[in-house]
């Protein structure tokens, strides 16, 4: 039985699929999507506790995707990851998720799980 249900969204399939598998090995229910459409398609109320979003997803920003997912599944928590350190990304990402839930690639898996637990227990993050 999984304690956390997570949806991983990143356009790098190699990355997101491997990460999902590794989370599964640790008993976390992890599914992944490589586009915003796919992510929204997978989403149904109560299906995921937390979403890990790349700030930059083709055709739509991670911030925009977060808003749409939030509408579809209120109460969901979010963590952003990025390969980019630009100021604009940082400002947007940390404003949305709080600077503590804005991670720069490559991400240590144990750190990611810690952050997910934190965000779910309400220590920080949005909503």
């Amino acid at each position: 039985m999984s304690e956390i249900r997570v949806l991983l969204v990143d356009d790098e399939e190699e990355l997101v699929s491997t990460l999902a598998e590794r989370l599964s090995l640790r008993g976390i229910f992890a599914e992944w999507a490589t586009s915003a459409e796919e992510a929204l398609e997978r989403l149904s109320p109560g299906r995921y506790d937390v979403a890990v979003l790349d700030v930059k997803i083709p055709r739509i920003s991670g911030i925009e995707l977060k808003k749409r997912m939030d509408e579809k599944n209120p109460g969901m928590k979010f963590i952003f990851i990025t390969g980019h350190g630009s100021e604009a990304d940082f400002q947007a990402g940390s404003a949305e998720a709080g600077s503590d839930y804005y991670l720069v690639k490559p991400v240590n898996i144990e750190d990611l799980i810690t952050k997910m637990r934190e965000v779910l227990t309400g220590k920080g993050g949005t909503e």
Partner: protein
């Protein structure tokens, strides 16, 4: 001694004010003006325009005034000569006419009567005042037949005397002044009367020269003037004040004949300049001379000339001082403005360069990050499969290799994170600063070089430094410049000590101390000046430290330097902590309180 020293200091200060700095040891950047040249052109042009007309007009005035004064004196002398000539001519003509009248009015017999002749002399002396000394009647053989006067000259034979011959030849004669039988200077007027039978007799009167001397002495002459008579041979006929006694030879040359009064300038062998006026007195052997000392005459002019020269010197001094002062002031202002402009330009260029580096770093980091993340996850999965699922029978060697991959990924991640953070912070504005983290971040870029050159870096940051708000990018640039500078000064195996601590007055002090080559004392005051560089020709722009100085100033801080050549250098940077606390810290403050 002391006032001399004071004067020297004042002089040095004056020199410093009037000097326009142009360090020729450095290459002058082409976008800076040649201030010395501007200064020279300004001074020459304004000085020329102001001074040339002034000097020109003063010189003309000098010439005109001098000439006018000289002309005035020449004219005045000419007038005195003319007037005196008239008096003397009249004096002689009057006496000559009197003798002439007597000789023609009286018969030989009447003149030969002693009583009668005595009466005539008395009457003449009465009518004509002084001067008539005696009267004598000389017959055609040259014997003095009758004589009345103070000397015993009766029976004297004048046949051999020059004047006698002249009377015989010309009928009338006025003689030079001479001593004669009586051995007293006198002159003679003699008139011949020709009888119908061809014989003749001569009436001769002699005069003392005192009336002439009185007459000449009465002349009011300025400029140590001297008036006297000479004969055509240059023998003085009256006593002169400065040019010899009576019957002596005149020390001046005898002037050339002229029918009118003349005045000329003459320089005597001693270099004394004289105005000499003269007039030949008609029908007499006399030349009237009036000699004046030009130097004495021109004394009033010398006073005027002195005033003129003082005025010129004062004017030139004032004009030059104003021009030099103004030109120096203006050129210095131009220089300051120009340097500020170039500084701003370079600072902008520098900031742009840093921003470009930042963007490049960010894009490289981003490009690398994704593949690294994939390597990270793949290697992580391999490890997970070994450990969590227990697949592929546990193999320590493979596990070691995977760990090694993961370690490398971690290291690469650290580098890209640093790059990204650096790039991000370059653009950042005011934000909370963790001083230690900022210094460490900057040091991160230098660790490789430090390792290669065996430079030991010791960082000591006091624990009580709380986060403060400042421009992170500027701080990074300041620290990077100072550390770069220290690295440039150090040899292999050098030491760089960085310490930071709180100051009581609400600021934090960061000290960078290296044991490099140090800075000579004479350069210490100049190292923050723009374009000052000891690395000219080695690619140094001379702007690094001046940009640093400006950045520190922009943060409201101060930067100081202490150095001993051969021992090392300390840069002491003091940065004020933010006065207005950000919302985060305010909350913290309330929570803590």
């Amino acid at each position: 001694m002391e006032s001399g020293f004071g004067n020297m200091i004042a002089w040095e200060k004056l020199k410093e004010f009037f000097s326009v700095k142009q360090d020729t040891s450095q290459d002058i950047p082409r976008y800076l003006f040649n201030y010395r040249r501007i200064w020279q052109v300004a001074v020459l042009l304004t000085g020329g325009v102001a001074l040339v007309p002034l000097i020109f007009i003063t010189l003309i005035d000098y010439q005109v005034t001098q000439h006018a004064i000289e002309s005035e004196f020449l004219l005045r002398t000419t007038r005195v000569v003319s007037n005196s000539r008239r008096t003397i001519s009249f004096f002689l003509a009057e006496r000559k006419s009197a003798i002439d009248f007597i000789v023609h009015d009286n018969s030989f017999e009447s003149l030969n009567n002693k009583g009668r002749l005595t009466l005539m002399l008395i009457n003449l002396q009465k009518s004509f005042g002084g001067g008539f000394m005696d009267l004598g009647l000389i017959d055609s053989s040259g014997y003095q037949r009758n004589y009345v006067g103070p000397y015993r000259l009766e029976g004297k034979d004048y046949k051999g005397q020059e004047w006698y011959q002249k009377v015989v030849d010309h009928g009338v004669h006025i003689s030079d002044v001479y001593l004669g039988f009586r051995r007293v200077p006198h002159m003679v007027i003699a008139v011949k009367k020709l009888m119908p039978d061809g014989s003749f007799y001569i009436l001769r009167a002699s005069f003392s020269i005192s009336p002439f001397e009185d007459l000449l002495a009465d002349l009011e002459l300025d400029g140590r003037g001297d008036a006297f008579l000479i004969n055509h041979q240059g023998t003085l006929q009256t006593t002169s004040r400065y040019h010899g006694g009576i019957l002596e030879r005149l020390s001046l040359p005898v002037p050339e004949y002229s029918p009118v009064s003349q005045v000329y300038e003459w320089k005597d062998p001693n270099g004394k300049e004289l105005f000499i006026g003269y007039r030949f007195i008609d029908d007499s052997p006399f030349i009237l001379m009036i000699v004046k000392d030009k130097h004495e005459l021109m004394k009033p002019w010398f006073k005027t000339r002195f005033k003129l020269i003082v005025f010129l010197i004062l004017s030139v001094t004032v004009i030059l001082s104003v021009i030099l002062g103004t030109a120096t002031y203006m050129v210095k202002k131009i220089q300051i403005v120009d340097e500020t402009r170039v500084m701003a330009f370079h600072q902008m260029e520098y900031a742009n360069k840093m921003a470009s580096i930042g963007r490049l770093a960010a894009s490289v980091a981003h490009e690398i990050n994704n593949p690294i993340a994939i390597i990270n996850e793949k290697a992580g999965l391999i490890k997970d499969l070994f450990i969590i699922k227990g697949q592929y029978a546990r193999d320590d060697k493979i596990l070691g290799l995977v760990d090694s991959i993961l370690n490398s990924v971690k290291r690469t991640g650290a580098i890209t994170k640093r790059l990204l953070s650096f790039a991000r912070n370059l653009e950042a504005s005011i934000e909370p600063i963790h001083l230690k983290a900022v210094i460490q971040e900057v040091l991160g870029f230098m660790t490789k070089e430090a390792e290669l050159r065996a430079i030991e870096i010791r960082l000591k940051v006091a624990e009580d430094i709380s986060p403060f708000k400042a421009d992170r990018g500027k701080l990074q640039q300041i620290f990077l410049n100072i550390i770069n500078n220290a690295f440039a000064a150090m040899n292999e195996g050098g030491h760089l000590d960085i310490s930071a601590e709180m100051e009581t007055k609400g600021s934090v002090t960061v000290v960078f101390t290296d044991d490099g080559c140090g800075i000579p004392e004479e350069d210490l005051n100049r190292i923050f000046e723009p374009f000052f560089s000891t690395k000219t020709g080695q690619g140094g722009t001379g702007l690094g430290l001046s940009i640093t100085y400006n950045l520190v100033t922009e943060l409201g801080g101060t930067i100081n330097v202490k150095s001993k050549p051969g021992q090392g250098t300390s840069f002491i940077i003091s940065i004020p902590l933010d006065k207005e606390k950000g919302p985060d810290e305010r909350d913290q403050g309330i929570a803590c309180g």
